[in-house]
Amino acid sequence: MRDYTTLQAVWFVLISVLWLGYFVLEGFDFGVGMLLRAVGRDRAERRAVLHSIGPVWDGNEVWLLVAGGATFAAFPQWYATLFSGFYLALFLILVALILRNVAFEFWGKGDSERWRSGWEWALIGGSFLPALLWGVAWADIVHGVPIDARGEYTGTLLTLLRPYALLGGLATLALFLAHGAIFLSLRTTGALERRARAIAARVAPPAALLVIGFLAWTLADSDGAKAASVVCAVGASALAVAAAALASRRPAHAFGATCGAIVLLFTALFSELFPHAMISSTNAAFSLTLAEAASSSYTLTVMTVVAGLLVPVVLLYQGWTYWVFRHRISAEGFGEARSPIDLLSRSREEGAGGRSPGR
């Protein structure tokens, strides 16, 4: 017997898609952020690394905001239980994201070495912590956390940090790191590309192992894993291995593989969770089902129309942005950087395109 409506299932899928979009896109932002100092050795190189995600990271982060907003709109009980329950973990994620956001903006605004390295570390830490904690959080959601009869979380921050969840966190951390390294090796040239490729080749194999380990534990732990979850888990593992094999030779294929691995990894988790929103480890009867968590069908219908109209448009212009900034970046263009005003006047003199050097 089905105890959820089609609309509720549609919104569960849509929210899953928003999270998938967030992890695929922000995943490489996190990876690039963590590798800022490892790949970029001097100021020009680090600026080049920042430029590889500069035009897009902010738009990528909006996927998170929309996932949060959509959860509030479609499943308010889920939003309330999850956000008040994972309180301190979310606080840490928020602090990390805030530091990372301002680090992008403030990095170039000071002249001292100390100023820049301070913001570089803020960016690295601000990318590291969410990459780890989102994995921990989703592992906990799927695995179940102590929730009482009123739907209130009764654990603490430490309850969330058990071995299984930490393994989930390490899996996403390593996967995002590999994802970012491969992305960088695709978006840069010269020494940057070489270094990114070497790191990708080193990080991708352990990432694949962690992903396989985490998914195996997830399936072993579940009482009667769904066929869909098993298929996705196997697919995610295979793609993670493929990414490890391809990272140094075929970065474009490897990038496709990490994208796929991230999508399938989380799809496996979402499919295990369905048709629940939160699993209670205290008592299975206290678990929050989608039907209990959902808004009225009127609200869901309204939101379906809005999402149906807007999501395709968003995909269109975000895709266009990636097309506009598809050129590879090299460090040379960033040593003698000039202002756009100069670029424009130069292009006017030359009468050609206004291309900046090195793009």
Binding site: L50, H51, G54, P55, V56, D58, G59, E61, V62, L65, V66, G68, G69, A70, T71, F72, A73, F75, P76, Q77, Y79, A80, T81, L82, F83, S84, Y87, L88, L90, F91, L97, N101, V102, F104, E105, G108, K109, R150, E152, S296, Y298, T299, V302, L310, V314, Y317, T321, V324, F325, G333, A337, R338, S339, P340, I341, D342, L344, S345, G354, R355
Partner: protein, 462 residues
């Protein structure tokens, strides 16, 4: 303090902090897009320099607005889970729409605008600037629609003790939201205008014309501020009449009217007992009949008093205190209006001097215009304090009390940790961002033909 009180402080601090950057971004993004349009049309280089210069300040403000905006969305669930459970069927919808319709546009097109110089065609690049300005305003609309539902709930019916959405159009086109939106957009333009005036005045007084950037900018901003402030008086007036109908207690507290009367005077200065609701005044200096005229349109119109409304609500909603902290409502309302008067004075006087061609000789005006940039920030902060604290004890007027809205699973210690954490983090960021903002503002646009910070900037941001 209880976890509820701490959560309220946290909401107040994070929201007022967030709202420093919101009006700068909305107003200055529009101003920048206008400058870029002038450049696009005329090809005059000082408009390009103005675009670049004001655009840089938009970026600093935008970065902080976005960073602190995530906290805003998360804390409804984190600190106010009972509120989220109660209003979820209605309140989440405009929030999700804001993300889908506005956040995606502003973040994506900001990236295109920053990095698209010389890569996109000038026309497309200009369109990006307007897309950003439009999306920031649209985002304000959705969040104000959500807030207005808390001030004046519409389009719902109660099912099992919770409101259920029955009419989304009623929520999105709530008259409260439309007034609040116009009020906020004008406030944003005032904020941008006052900042442009202050920064331009600072440079002009030092004889730094920057090839016409500052005289062109201030000539644009002075009439903008004068007209916007004047408009704001009218919008505020009609907003006040609407609020008198929808939330009479808030207006009664704002004017310290305790007993219902006809021909109420507008209080200029009043004192009472040092209590949340003093139930009467010791001293009151007032302009006779003015309040009745402002709030109802008639000099002898009836104004309901705090004490009578308190009794009325007690009968309707059960025993309890139904008045907000009267002194906060009274003084925040006055501070907001006082700042608006100040902004009108700056705009009108400066405009008059500029039209007579005497702006550069008005040394005292140019000096005073710099600290006057604080006025719009005081006005919007006190405006929000009035709006939100004036609604108390309700979080959703007439439906849910703030005392019932908190998160049961969150301990006092946890709220204390996040309150201290956010406050410290925001404080440090404010100091850093303020310094960068001032440094960028002082530096002004680059010399003609010179690179901007050689080796520093390929694009605006990094």
């Amino acid at each position: 303090m209880t976890s509820l009180e701490l959560a309220r402080w946290q909401f107040g601090i994070t929201t007022l902090y967030h709202f420093i950057f919101v009006p700068i971004t909305i107003g200055l993004a529009t101003f920048t897009a206008y400058c870029q349009t002038r450049w696009h049309r005329s090809g005059e280089e000082h408009w390009l320099r103005a675009t670049r210069f004001w655009g840089k300040l938009v970026l600093i403000s935008f970065a902080l607005g976005v960073a602190t905006g995530i906290v805003q969305e998360f804390q409804f669930g984190m600190n106010w889970s009972n509120y989220s459970r109660f209003v979820g069927d209605i309140f989440g919808a405009p929030l999700a729409m804001e993300g889908l319709a506005a956040f995606f546009v502003e973040s994506t097109f900001l990236g295109l605008w920053i990095f698209g110089w010389g890569r996109l065609s000038p026309r497309v690049h200009l369109a990006c600037a307007w897309a950003i300005a439009g999306a920031t305003a649209l985002s304000a609309y959705f969040i104000l629609a959500a807030n207005s539902w808390m001030q004046h709930p519409v389009g719902y019916r109660m099912v099992d003790g919770r409101p259920r959405l029955t009419n989304i159009a009623a929520v999105l086109f709530n008259n409260t939201a439309i007034y609040a939106f116009v009020h906020t957009i004008i406030a944003a333009l005032l904020t941008a205008g006052m900042l442009v005036i202050a920064i331009s005045a600072w440079h002009l007084r030092r004889g730094n014309e920057a090839a016409g950037v500052f005289s062109a900018s201030i000539r644009l901003a002075l009439p903008l501020v004068a007209v916007a402030a004047l408009l704001q008086f009218f919008v505020g007036h009609f907003d006040g009449i609407l609020m008198t109908k929808q939330q009479p207690m808030k207006m009664a507290a704002a004017d310290a009217v305790f007993e219902t009367k006809r021909g109420a005077g507008l209080s200029l200065f009043a004192t009472g007992d040092f209590e949340s609701n003093p139930r009467g005044l010791d001293r009151n200096i007032e302009v006779p009949n003015l309040l009745s005229w402002i709030s109802t349109g008639y000099p002898r119109g009836e104004i309901k008093g705090v004490n009578d409304l308190d009794r009325e609500y007690g009968a309707r909603y059960g025993p309890g205190e139904y008045a907000p902290i009267v002194a906060v409502a009274y003084w925040s309302w006055r501070a907001m209006i006082g700042c608006a008067v100040g902004m009108f004075a700056v705009g009108a006087f400066g405009w008059w001097r500029a039209r007579r061609g005497e702006l550069l000789r008005s040394r005292r005006f140019l000096r005073l215009a710099v600290p006057a940039a604080a006025l719009p920030f005081v006005a919007s902060s006190t405006g929000w304090i009035f709006t939100e604290m004036g609604r108390q004890p309700w979080v959703v007027f007439g439906l849910l009390k703030t005392s019932d809205a908190g998160s049961p699973s969150v301990s006092t210690a946890e709220v204390l940790v996040t309150l201290i954490g956010f406050t410290l983090l925001y404080g440090v960021l404010a100091a850093i961002a303020g310094r960068i903002f001032l440094r960028t503002a002082r530096k002004g646009p680059p010399e003609e033909g010179a690179a901007e910070e050689p080796g520093q900037e390929l694009a605006l941001a990094y």
